[in-house]
């Protein structure tokens, strides 16, 4: 039985580097270089990587903000109850796609239009998709604001973004993203610009909403500790490729790829007594696995735990 909400296969995005008006392409930037992953219904997958690894580009491609160069993205359409390939989607179905796939952005200060009030911001999705009457929409907005913890919601309808704090703005973004009860939400580092002491409350809100509304997340972050809190599975990205993907606790306790190992060992620990062991890059184990398997793409090392079959030893030294 189909349990997937999103399936990405061999996704590629190259940016052309041109020079001047008449010269052609002189170079390619391989922002996303052949990645594949799936997300099951109700599951949240963390996409972890450092800046420039391609995770934001992946998010933008999956929401049709950018065009992919090649590869396939299939998502589960609740209207037709089948997996639809985004290449074959018809124009009239794009609106349906938009109502089922949403995105929450990183910057709470720039992701809300400063000239719109909260009511308009949160009800915009309903307006665009022509759902309900005006009073229905106001009701829905109030309900959503209550759910995300902005209370009393009536006081906030006429307010403007600059009157709210960073945390409140992010809650408004969440309300706006979820008001149409989408089945899949991509979150692009939604807490990295918030104060440390309020991050958990926003993340808890998102986890609760996931449970209540059955939403699946693709959670993008550079912080592995945050990914651990939010996600059941984690994919580690580097230079446009997914190096390793596994269930969260499995990845943290049993990392195979040297990049993952080095990443985990570089994270500072909030415990002054803990002695971190510096990890020296060692490709022998991983090269053995790659050579033995003779497969291309992702190699399964244990249940649900995959690593990339490409050789990165040169890139990473």
């Amino acid at each position: 039985m189909n349990n997937k909400i999103v399936e990405v296969n061999d996704l590629v995005k190259y940016f052309d580097v041109k020079s001047g008006f008449f010269t052609g392409k002189i170079n390619e930037v391989k922002a996303v270089d052949n990645i594949s992953f799936e997300i099951a219904k109700g599951e949240s997958l963390g996409l972890v990587g450092q800046s420039g690894c391609g995770k934001t580009t992946t998010a933008r491609i999956m929401t049709l903000l950018e065009e992919k160069t090649s590869g396939s993205i299939k998502f589960f359409d609740s209207k037709s109850n089948t997996m639809i390939d985004l290449d074959e989607i018809k124009d009239e179905d794009i609106q349906s796609f938009r109502s089922q796939v949403q995105m929450i952005f990183q910057d709470p200060y720039e992701s809300l239009n400063p000239r719109w009030n909260i009511k308009n911001i949160v009800s915009e999705p309903l307006n665009i998709h022509n759902l309900g009457t005006e009073s229905d929409r106001v009701e829905a907005v109030l309900e959503m604001l209550r759910t995300v913890g902005i209370t009393p919601p009536e006081n906030y309808l006429e307010r403007y973004p600059h009157e709210l704090s960073g945390g409140q703005r992010q809650r408004v973004s969440i309300a706006r993203a979820l008001i149409m009860k989408p089945s899949f939400v991509i979150c692009d580092e939604p807490t990295s610009m918030l104060d440390v002491s309020i991050r958990i409350s926003i993340m808890d809100l998102m986890l609760n909403l996931a449970k209540d509304l059955g939403v699946s997340y693709l959670y993008i972050t550079h912080d592995l500790a945050v990914a651990r809190y939010m996600c059941e599975r984690i994919a580690v990205m580097y230079n446009g490729k997914i190096l390793e993907i596994a269930d969260t606790e499995e990845l943290l306790s049993n990392p195979i790829h040297p990049y993952t190992k080095r990443l985990i060992s570089s994270i500072p620990i909030p415990d002054p007594n803990y002695k971190r062991i510096k990890y020296e890059l060692d490709f022998t184990e991983v090269n053995n696995i790659i050579n033995k398997s003779k497969k291309t793409g992702m190699i399964e090392v244990s249940k649900n735990h995959f690593i990339s079959s490409n050789d990165f030893s040169d890139d990473l030294q």
């Binding site: 450092q50 958990i200 909030p270 007594n273």
Partner: protein
């Protein structure tokens, strides 16, 4: 061991359109020679204002209203700009937040460091300065030919190392590192923090780390102070504070930081935001967000004052009673 840096009752205000913002209120702490000290707090708590005040580099509308800043025993607050120029970089220097972007893009790196050396050691020859720069670069792990490159040719990590070299160029007794690695990759951050630790030991340097990330503070510092809304609310040995946090805010910081090791535990956090620093706050500034305020806290009846609870571990009065 005497104190390399001692801050006593530092109070600083900014004049703005909306009123006077009391960014720093009655802040006191001391750093001994060779010690690393951490100042932790969230945005708006005043830690960057403290950092800038230590070099009297605060913004034009900022004024030090009260207090003393003793560097190697002498107060720099009443010093004139001319006198300060001798102290800056020579006794105390700083690695700014986003310092990677502080390089002039049209001048080579070496030339920009040479400028600092020329200012402070006018009697040295070009050759001596060059040798010194090569040594500095070796210390921070950079190749000497980076001296001949322009900033845009270097990666973020290399630029940050160069900034540290610049901060060390005039042999200061203490460096301030204000969020030195925020914009960098985790792996590079680890490398640079390790370099800093090494350099500190090698030169016997005191370092003041300022960060919102308590994990960095946990790993890099011997002593620390926690700031909230312009005040220091708890300070003491790092290990002691992490094992026995007394102030509610400190506890909150520790309980809201996820970790990649150990068992996955339930985390807590807060809503709301720190109070506005324009109106004077009576009593505990954290009372409105504290999960367990006593009646005294809420009424603002308590005088804010740090009390030594155990060996060198100081905490704001109100939390001593809460326990």
């Amino acid at each position: 061991m005497s104190n390399t840096l001692e801050v006593k009752n530092l109070t600083m205000e900014y004049e703005t359109l909306e009123g006077n913002v009391s960014a720093v209120q009655d802040v006191s702490f001391a750093i001994k020679k060779g010690e690393s000290f951490g100042l932790v707090g969230e945005s708006g708590c005043g830690k960057s204002s403290v950092a800038m005040s230590l070099l009297k580099l605060q913004a034009d509308n900022g004024q030090i209203k009260d207090g003393e800043i003793l560097i190697n025993g002498s107060d720099i607050v009443p010093l004139s700009e001319k006198q300060l120029r001798k102290v800056r970089w020579n006794n105390i220097s700083i690695v700014f937040q986003g310092a990677m972007n502080a390089w002039n893009p049209v001048i080579k790196i070496g030339e920009q460091i040479r400028e600092a050396l020329r200012e402070h050691f006018p009697e040295k020859t070009k050759k001596e300065n060059y040798e010194k720069m090569v040594n500095l670069f070796q210390l921070v792990g950079l190749d000497p030919d980076v001296l001949e490159r322009f900033p845009h040719e270097l990666s973020g990590g290399m630029k940050q190392r160069a900034v540290i070299a610049l901060a060390l160029s005039c042999d200061p007794d203490i460096i301030i590192a204000d969020e030195p690695t925020t914009a960098l990759d985790v792996v590079i951050q680890d490398q640079i923090l390790n370099e800093l630790k090494k350099i500190q030991k090698q030169l016997g340097l005191s370092v003041l780390y300022i960060s919102h990330d308590i994990s960095v503070i946990a790993e890099m510092t011997d002593y620390m102070a926690v700031m909230y809304a312009g005040r220091v609310i708890e300070k003491g040995p790092t290990k002691e504070i992490f094992s026995k946090p007394l102030h509610s805010y400190t506890r909150l910081l520790l309980e809201s930081t996820p970790s990649v090791i150990g068992k996955k535990k339930k985390l807590y956090s807060l809503d709301g935001e720190p109070p506005s620093l324009i109106e004077p706050i009576s009593g505990c500034s954290f009372a409105s967000r504290c999960p367990k305020p006593t009646n005294d806290c809420k009424n603002g009846d308590i005088d804010m004052e740090l009390i030594e609870v155990s060996d060198n571990h100081w905490v704001d009065q109100c939390c001593v009673k809460c326990g």
